[in-house]
């Protein structure tokens, strides 16, 4: 099964060191079941990790809805009022044919904390992968109403997107924490257990942060980094422009609200002119309604998606940094070995482990980046087309309500 990424990966593997299979370390709990969706076992003898192979093979499948076997939805927000606090829960519904799930369908209730927990767990357990972003955790009380319909709906959409992105990811979707999140009746019980498990994990999951300095980022990753930097800047600019437009639209709306009624007042003074004046007044009123809808839509649908992508890009940049760390550690250890000048030029196991990690990380990251780019393109295409649509609808509404008397034709 040749794949563009497979080729480059094997190039990297064609180095002097060829570790034996037993040096391969499972990098996450998901690697326990190393089999393709159709059940055939995966050859784990290659230097590249099994999960990244899975990654590559399933790259094309993401866009093909028919092979998807896991569907997740977030809906039905409900307010809970308890003695200690008030909070919102969302219903998380899962439909799946995967063997990892005991039942074909699940329906559980989760609150924001739970999503946050899931994300942290994923970041810990899948450090080489890009984890989708969550909507903002903290909202300023008094500035934003945490229980308003608009806020809850915006959040719901973002949480739904979050879970769908994980469900569509060939590696993340098999993560055990994700499974539990979707299925457990009481997540809190599991959370407590999870703490105990964490302490047993040891080195395999722990990645050094900040201890090593990378000399230079390989070109392809440097390119990704540069791209993300510029991308985030441009998104920020678009966010500011969109906000400014909304602000101007609301000020325009304010004036229109005073403008329309004056025509009515005038109509009250007149006889023959009363009809056209009332007509103009009604049109302006209609324009107000349409304009309000437009700016609400932009606030609720457009801006959050934009901001989410900024967060997404920042996450990706962090993953790049982690990758740099892993490479730096490897290079440092390699240097240390070279300097020792021992009699037996045997490569210590831990250096080989490092090299492994670097290669896996690179492969995962590249695969994730490509997926991210594809999704980004689709998401923005949809977002911007949506923005254009809303504006078209606004003008259509306005146009169709314009007052023009039938007598115009006679005149």
């Amino acid at each position: 099964m040749p794949h563009p990424l497979a080729a480059s990966s094997s190039e990297e593997a064609a180095s002097e060191l060829t570790p034996s299979p037993d040096l391969l370390l499972p990098r996450s709990f998901a690697d326990k079941d190393l089999s393709l969706p159709n059940g055939t076992p995966v050859d784990t003898s290659s230097p590249a990790s099994s999960s990244s192979l899975l990654n590559r093979l399933q790259l094309d499948d993401d866009l093909d809805g028919e092979t998807r076997d896991l569907f997740v939805t977030v809906d039905d927000p409900k307010k809970h009022i308890c003695t200690m606090e008030t909070y919102i829960t969302y219903r998380v519904t899962t439909k799946t044919t995967r063997a990892e799930f005991d039942l074909p369908e699940y329906s559980v209730r989760r609150r924001y904390q739970d999503f946050d927990w899931l994300r942290n767990k994923l970041e810990e357990s899948q450090p080489t992968h890009l984890i989708p972003p969550l909507p903002e955790k903290f909202v300023m009380k008094g500035v934003v109403d945490r229980f308003s319909e608009e806020f809850v709906e915006t959040r719901r959409k973002a949480l739904d997107k979050f879970l769908k992105r994980i469900a569509d990811h060939p590696v993340l979707s098999f993560n055990e924490h994700f499974n539990v999140f979707l299925t457990a009746k009481d997540l809190n019980v599991y959370k407590k257990q999870g703490m105990a498990l964490l302490s047993k994990m040891g080195e395999s999951v722990k990645y050094v942060t900040g201890a090593y300095k990378l000399r230079s980022r390989p070109l392809e990753f440097a390119a990704i980094g540069d791209y993300l930097d510029t991308f985030v800047l441009k998104l920020g600019t678009i966010d500011r422009i969109a906000q400014r437009i909304i602000k101007e639209e609301l000020e325009y709306l304010l004036e229109l609200r005073e403008y329309g009624p004056v025509y009515s007042t005038w109509g009250g003074l007149e006889m023959e002119l009363a009809e056209p004046l009332e007509g103009v007044s009604a049109c302006i009123g209609n324009c107000c309604t349409a304009l309000e809808e437009l700016s609400d839509d932009m606030t609720e649908d457009f801006l959050p998606v934009l901001r989410e992508y900024i967060l997404y890009s920042e996450s990706m940049k962090n993953v790049l940094k982690k990758r740099d760390q892993v490479q730096a550690e490897y290079e440092a250890k390699l240097e240390a070995v070279a300097l020792k000048k021992e009699d037996r030029p045997k490569v210590p196991a831990d250096v080989e482990k490092c090299q492994d990690r670097v290669e896996c990380f690179n492969a995962d990251l590249k695969a994730d980046m490509e997926r991210w780019q594809n999704n980004k393109r689709q998401d923005f295409r949809q977002l911007l087309m949506g923005m254009a649509d809303k504006n078209i609808q606004y003008y259509e509404k306005e146009k169709n309500y314009k007052y023009l008397p039938s007598t115009l034709l006679i005149m």
Partner: protein, 441 residues
Amino acid sequence: MERPEAEPLGASHSCQTGEAEPGTGPAEEEPGGAAAGTMMEDCLSKKIEITVSEAEKRTGRNAMNMQETYTAYLIETRAVESQTEGQCSPPDSLWRRYSEFELLRNYLLVNYPHIVVPPLPEKRAEFVWHKLSADNMDPDFVERRRIGLENFLIRVASHPIICQDKIFYSFLTQEGGWKEMVNETGFQLKADSRLKALNATFRVKNPDKRFTELKHYSDELQSVISHLLRVRARVADRLYGVYKVHGNYGRVFSEWSAIEKEMGDGLQSAGHHMDVYAGSIDDILEEEEHYADQLKEYLFYAEALRAVCRKHELMQYDLEIAAQDLASKKQQCEELATGTLRTFSLKGMTSKLFGQETPEQREGKIKVLEEQIHEGEEQLKSKNVESREFVKSAWTDIERFKEQKNHDLKEALISYAVMQISMCKKGIQVWTNAKECFSKM
């Protein structure tokens, strides 16, 4: 701005056949002035085509010998017949400045107080939104003023009564010495200063109710149109802002497209459409200024309407005072003749205390009073006639004006609606184009 409709719909109005001599008012005209039947063919506007075709900056010396800059406007007149015959003879032309237009209008106001005299375009730019300059020398302002002045002349020329005024005709045709000619008519002396005192109230006992209602209407109309124009200016300002900010999308999409592969082209071309969108507001708002100018004309017309009502009020007041005066003189006369004292007067008291006057003295007084009474009765009669004349001819012109106003404003409102529809269509077009570009991303 469209030319005002020369034919009011279905109104009956007078078109004086007699010569209106400079400096005289309608009181000297035939009483049956409000005759049925239109005689629009006699209106000047049918005979002469009037245009204010150019505006020019001039410098000169004013009355205090100080240098000033002002704008002069070129008035061109051309006989209509010469055109229909296929000959295009060169027009007659002369230059006038705004102050001369003002002089003409003031002359008409004084000499035709029963006419709703067409207003001039505003002296200073008001109700401006930020992009427009409030400077009188600004070319856009000058251009809109030029159109307004042309409109004014056409309105006067289309009016069946004032189009025949000689001073008006001279204004259009006689360059030199016109100002002196107007001043020689002495119209400033005729002006009733009380008309200028807008809010002074006169206790009128029996005004014609129609005029009272009309004055009230004109006050309300002025108020509502002012309000409308103020808010419209703010609305224009805001709309301008909305459109212009979209232009920023153009730049950022272009920058973004530089780092994208497949998305690049779609973004770049969508950005171009955003620029088009942002630029389209300039034409839209320029067109709307014409609408605002049409409203302004009627704002100022409301003032002219008010002036006619005011004039009636003052005439009625003078009439009532004169009648009151006459009545009291008659009473005095009667008391002297019969020797009875009905009303308290100091004279009466002193004569009671110090003895009555001699019969000769009394006779003398009675004679004087009788003369005065006779004079007073004559005056009252003519004042009554004047007043009735005024009411009749004023009301005729008011009916004419109402028709004109309803027609013009209806057209203005409709054209405003059409403008808005056109703006919507443009918006739909641009965003549809942008959407297509996005779809190709």
